[in-house]
């Protein structure tokens, strides 16, 4: 699997650390809503199909990326910085066979 880091370009998956489901929303730090905290810490979307997820380029620039990847084909549809902005230059959605 190759992930295209917006800084570093296409790199092998071995350079990245998976940080899981990118759909989770962390409650405000002071929130006492335990259900919301439980959902954030424990619940996962886990779809068979396109999945938005967080990867860290831990063997590179160490930026966190939001990657949309298909969990059946492992195709990567888009990559951008997790903190927002700057999509990678060559999102490959158009290359899907």
């Amino acid at each position: 699997m190759l992930i295209t880091c917006p800084y570093c370009g296409p790199r092998d998956v071995i350079e990245f650390t998976y940080q899981g489901d990118g759909n989770r929303e962390r409650p405000q730090p002071a929130s006492q809503d335990l259900d919301a905290w439980n959902a954030y810490v424990y619940d996962r979307l886990n779809p068979a199909g396109d999945h938005s997820e967080i990867w860290q380029h831990s063997g590179g620039c160490r930026a966190h990326l939001r990657v949309v990847r298909n969990t059946i084909t492992h195709e990567i549809l888009s990559t951008e910085f997790a903190r927002g902005g700057h999509k990678s230059a060559d999102n490959r959605a158009e290359d899907r066979p």
């Binding site: 699997m1 190759l2 092998d12 998956v13 650390t17 940080q19 962390r26 409650p27 730090p29 002071a30 929130s31 006492q32 335990l34 905290w37 439980n38 954030y40 810490v41 967080i54 860290q56 831990s58 160490r62 930026a63 966190h64 084909t73 492992h74 997790a82 903190r83 927002g84 290359d95 066979p97």
Partner: protein, 997 residues
């Protein structure tokens, strides 16, 4: 002249004789021979024994799909088992031995298994060996008794235990076009792509490029196909943008168009050149892959089809044309398709007598009839082979009239005298890589074969891989694929002209001749047609059940020979078309791959070693090292004759009496900088850091999101916006990732950067009543007295001319200081401290003494913060700020985390004054014979020189409530039982007067 070597022809070098041994007997062959061709030339017919029945077996194939002729290659003590003789290039001094036979290949006691006959049918072992329900062999004992013998009878070659001295190498390669296979299609593709300027890699698993061109006997562009291939390879070799990889098996097609390949660099050499690895593992990232992997000829299934002397037709053609070896003098062919006729003509030309061509079809074309007559062969259309004769070599066969539509045999059996029977059951495209890439194969009823479907990755097929079996088609498709892969336009330039024997690519749909006797589908695993039908009767009808129940296709050839015939027999039993039985999905590897090559440079060097700047000093000064994760740290600095316990007790005692110094460079160190650094630390630590004054340090605790304890350490405020965080050695990487995640994903608005500086700083902790005096004697540029350097204070100064940062903090419980210098000066500063400490009797101490003093103080480490404990469990709840939220604060009070029966940190004192063991358990009532009701366990233990007792830290249910009570250590694993007193974890100087000074 060996009996089977032709007078001329082949690509072997007849002037070079190579000497080798097989099963101890000396043989000769020529340069260019494989072990298979050389032995065949020497008249050897018996190459191996089958897995289950130990039946004698000869060569079936000439290439990578060989299921029978497996050998072990020896290089001194180093063994390489299960290598197909067809893939071993001979070299002077080659030593090969046969496998799976006792005592010899010719006389194998395992052949007695054949007497088991029908009892040993597919899956028989599931139906027996359960043993008696009662008595001494009940339960699993009877099976395990039987298994002992079964295990020894099973298995092919024997692996070695001597370490492999070879080196393996990994290469990463990038190309625009990877061409897999170098037959006419692959060569044309590589050439076309290279001419477009693309970066091309051409890989072929054989030693010589050319594929079928090397033995087809066809003519391309007016020259022999082999010469044309050589010329094309030479042209390719002259291009800077082409990398040629012969002896390179592309075995895996992975995500992202990453392909894995194995290059056999020196396996064919007597001696490797200096620096050459044995094998090279290529990870190739290809823009586009051209799959020109050709096809396999399929065997036919009929009684006695496994007798030595029965061989695939193209294999015999290849032995004759490429190696100058005849498979026999009197050759018969048995076929369901046209390709065997070409083989007949080629073998006739090479000097063999073709006694008969037996064709299951009635409508043999006139062209084929002409080829048969060219071969001077009797053509028996509408016939089938129903038996073979001979022992360890073929002597003849029997044929009968056969109706291809009904499969019925009729008429009398007729015997034919022959020493070689060549079979052809049609061809299967080699679609393995495409299948690995995720494409499901599609059955083509005309070709009677699975063809590759629409690509799921960026690959293009060409030649026989696509089911286009003629060389002319291969050449056209190859060029088109190469152009397309390189992004070039289609070409209308003329293609090389091919002169080839005619032939219809579509075989008759005949896979099996049903007659009396064992008909093999999977040769190596001895799966017969009857086994397939038994699987059908018992309901194991899907392709995967068939494979698993009968072991069809699970042998080292991975079903390359047996897959389609097996499916066909099952389909017939089911009365369904073949694709409805299912299609096998191939998985990596295409052929077996040495484990050494996959480990590559990590063979013998699994993980990096992390050494502190003072590592060499420790070694030179008697340290015994301890491996902690990737780090090496001094365990003790033993004196002559000292035990480990004596050493650490001496070190700890000396530290408490005067002073000791320990290397703490391995602690994780993270620079936390920026306008929001203090705010950030308030969020990640349970306690406050924004209130920390510049020039002071504070002990901090972090929780995970789920509210459990994560890590602890001190963090130093070096400036208003600058902190130096320390973490435990083990969690340095995890904490760093934790911080980065929050800064980058959760709180990107915080203006903070974190930088791992673990390796930038050398750290030494010096503690004990004289520690301050020692420092005072060697530090310049700052005072270190209580006013200048109070508890948790930080100063900057110099030692031996080197800038240092000193923080007064204590893990040992003594007046202590951590001295940090640039890593490059670590040893220099360390030696200066040692020198300054000499008048005070300063000792160096290792992890054991460090651990001893921390146990005496009741501090926690990774043994207690083990991912299951909370701050409360560890009595660190005083650190949980109520003034602010922090990571984990919302989750830490859930019912399971505040339950009364949780394990809590306590201290233990051994009342029998004997050593305790880490991992021993604690019970209320001692029951050595039947230990039960564990209350908890010991996390760390030592002899405490300060207390004069064996003590421990433990996590125990009830915790504090048990202080002052008696319990027992129960350690059945080490037979250590005895009374303990449960006490506070703060054994020594609980009010901290020593460290506060």
């Amino acid at each position: 002249m060996s009996p089977r070597r032709t007078e001329t022809g082949g690509r072997i070098d007849r002037l070079r004789t190579i000497r080798f041994t097989f099963d101890g007997a000396p043989y000769t062959g020529h340069a260019g021979d494989t072990l298979a061709s050389a032995l065949l030339a020497n008249g050897v017919t018996l190459f191996g024994r089958s897995f289950k029945y130990h039946r004698p077996r000869g060569l079936l194939a000439a290439g990578v799909e060989e299921p029978n002729a497996l050998v072990t290659v020896l290089r001194g003590e180093v063994r390489e088992p299960n290598i197909a003789a067809t893939m071993v290039e001979i070299y002077d001094g080659l030593v090969a031995v046969s496998q799976n036979r006792t005592p010899s290949l010719a006389w194998d006691i395992g052949a007695l298994n054949q007497l088991g006959g029908k009892i040993l049918s597919a899956g028989f072992y599931y139906k027996t060996f359960m043993g008696p329900v009662i008595g001494p062999l009940k339960g699993t004992r009877f099976w395990m008794f039987c298994e002992h013998f079964i295990r020894r009878a099973a298995g092919l070659g024997k692996a070695g235990t001597a370490p492999d001295p070879a080196r393996y190498e990994r290469m990463n390669a990038f190309c625009d076009v990877l061409v897999v296979g170098s037959g006419p299609a692959g060569l044309m593709a590589a050439k076309a792509a290279a001419d477009q300027g693309a970066r091309v890699i051409l890989a072929d698993l054989e030693a010589h490029f050319g594929g079928s061109a090397n033995w087809s006997g066809e003519t391309i562009d007016g020259m022999s196909a082999a010469d044309w291939a050589q010329r094309t390879v030479a042209q390719l070799g002259g291009n800077d943008n082409v990398r040629l990889l012969p002896r390179t098996t592309v075995w895996g097609y992975y995500d992202g168009n990453t392909l894995a390949a194995l290059e056999r660099v020196t396996d064919h050499k007597e001696v490797a050149a200096k620096g050459e690895p044995r094998q090279r593992y290529w990870a190739i990232r290809a823009g586009t892959v051209v799959l020109a992997t050709g096809s396999f000829e399929r065997p036919l299934v009929f009684p006695g089809n496994d007798r030595p002397g029965v061989m695939l037709a193209h294999a015999a053609e290849r032995y004759a044309n490429e190696y100058g070896v005849l498979s026999g003098q009197r050759i018969a062919l048995f076929t369901n398709n046209d390709s065997a006729y070409r083989s007949a003509v080629a073998l006739k030309k090479a000097g063999a007598a073709i006694v008969a061509i037996i064709d299951v079809r009635s409508d043999v074309s006139n062209e084929m009839r002409r080829l048969a007559s060219d071969a001077e062969a009797e053509l028996l259309a509408d016939h089938a082979v129903v038996a073979t004769e001979g022992g360890k070599a073929l002597t003849g066969l029997k044929v009968q009239r056969f109706d291809a539509m009904s499969g019925a045999l009729s008429g009398d059996e007729r015997s034919i005298h022959a020493d070689s029977l060549l079979i052809s059951g049609g061809w299967s495209p080699t679609i393995h890589l495409a299948s690995q890439a995720g494409a499901k194969a599609e059955w083509d009823p005309a070709r009677q074969a699975f063809l590759p479907p629409k690509p799921t990755h960026r690959w293009i097929g060409a030649g026989a891989f696509t089911g286009s079996f003629s060389t002319a088609e291969a050449i056209a498709e190859g060029r088109a694929a190469g152009l397309q892969a390189a992004g070039g336009a289609e070409s209308s330039a003329p293609l090389p002209v091919v002169e080839a024997a005619p032939g219809n690519p579509d075989p008759a749909p005949v896979f099996e001749i049903k007659a009396k006797g064992k008909s093999f589908v999977d040769f190596q695993h001895d799966v017969t047609a009857e086994d397939v039908r038994l699987a059908h009767r018992e309901g194991f009808v899907s392709v995967e059940h068939l494979k698993r129940y009968t072991t069809l296709g699970m042998a080292t050839d991975q079903g390359k020979n047996s897959n389609v015939p097996g499916l066909a027999i099952m389909a017939e039993a089911l009365g369904k078309p073949i694709p409805e039985v299912g299609t096998t999905r191939f998985r990596p590897p295409y052929t077996a791959v040495s484990i050494g090559s996959l480990a590559a440079e990590r063979f013998g060097d699994l993980k990096p070693e992390r050494l502190t700047p003072m590592h060499d000093w420790h070694l030179a000064n008697g340290a015994r090292m301890y491996s902690a994760g990737l780090w090496y740290r001094p365990m003790i600095y033993g004196l002559a004759g000292e035990t480990v316990e004596q050493a650490y007790v001496r070190e700890a005692r000396a530290t408490r009496e005067s002073a000791g110094i320990v290397d703490v460079s391995t602690l994780g160190k993270i620079a936390v900088q920026g306008p929001d650094a203090a705010e950030f630390l308030d969020r990640v630590y349970t306690n406050m850091f924004s209130t920390l004054a510049v020039g002071k340090a504070r002990y901090g605790l972090m929780l995970r999101e789920d509210g459990l304890a994560f890590d602890d350490g001190t963090t130093w405020r070096l400036g208003e916006q600058e902190f130096l965080m320390t973490t435990t050695t083990a969690n340095a990487g995890k904490v760093m990732q934790h911080l980065e995640y929050f800064l980058d994903v959760i709180w990107p608005e915080l203006k903070v950067t974190v930088t791992s500086v673990t390796d930038e700083w050398a750290g030494a902790a010096i503690g004990g009543p004289n520690a301050r005096a020692i420092l005072a004697s060697c530090v310049t540029g700052t005072a270190v007295d209580n006013a200048a350097l109070p508890f948790m204070g930080i100063v900057q100064g110099r030692i031996a001319g080197v800038p240092v940062m000193i923080c007064r903090l204590s893990f040992s419980g003594e007046m202590a200081f951590e001295v940090y210098s640039g890593a490059g000066y670590g040893t220099h500063v360390w030696e200066a401290l040692i020198e300054a400490g000499k008048p005070f009797g300063l000792v160096t101490y290792g992890l054991e003494a460090l651990g001893t003093m921390r146990i005496e103080k009741g501090h926690v480490t990774g043994a207690e913060i083990d991912g299951r404990t909370t701050a409360r469990d560890l009595h660190l709840d005083w650190m949980l700020s109520k003034k602010k939220p922090f990571i984990g604060s919302a989750m830490m009070d859930r019912e399971g985390l505040i339950a009364p029966d949780r394990l809590e940190l306590v201290g233990l004192i051994a009342l029998d004054n004997r050593p305790l063991n880490g991992g021993g358990h604690i019970v209320e009532e001692l029951d050595e014979a039947n230990p039960h009701d564990s209350l908890g366990h010991i996390t760390a233990c030592c002899y405490s020189p300060a207390l004069g007792k064996y003590i421990a830290l433990a996590l125990v249910k009830g915790g504090k409530a048990r202080h002052g009570t008696r319990a027992f250590v129960s350690d059945p694993l080490r037979n250590r039982f005895g009374p303990v007193e449960i006490v506070s974890n703060h054994f020594y100087d609980p009010d901290g007067s020593r460290m506060h000074g």
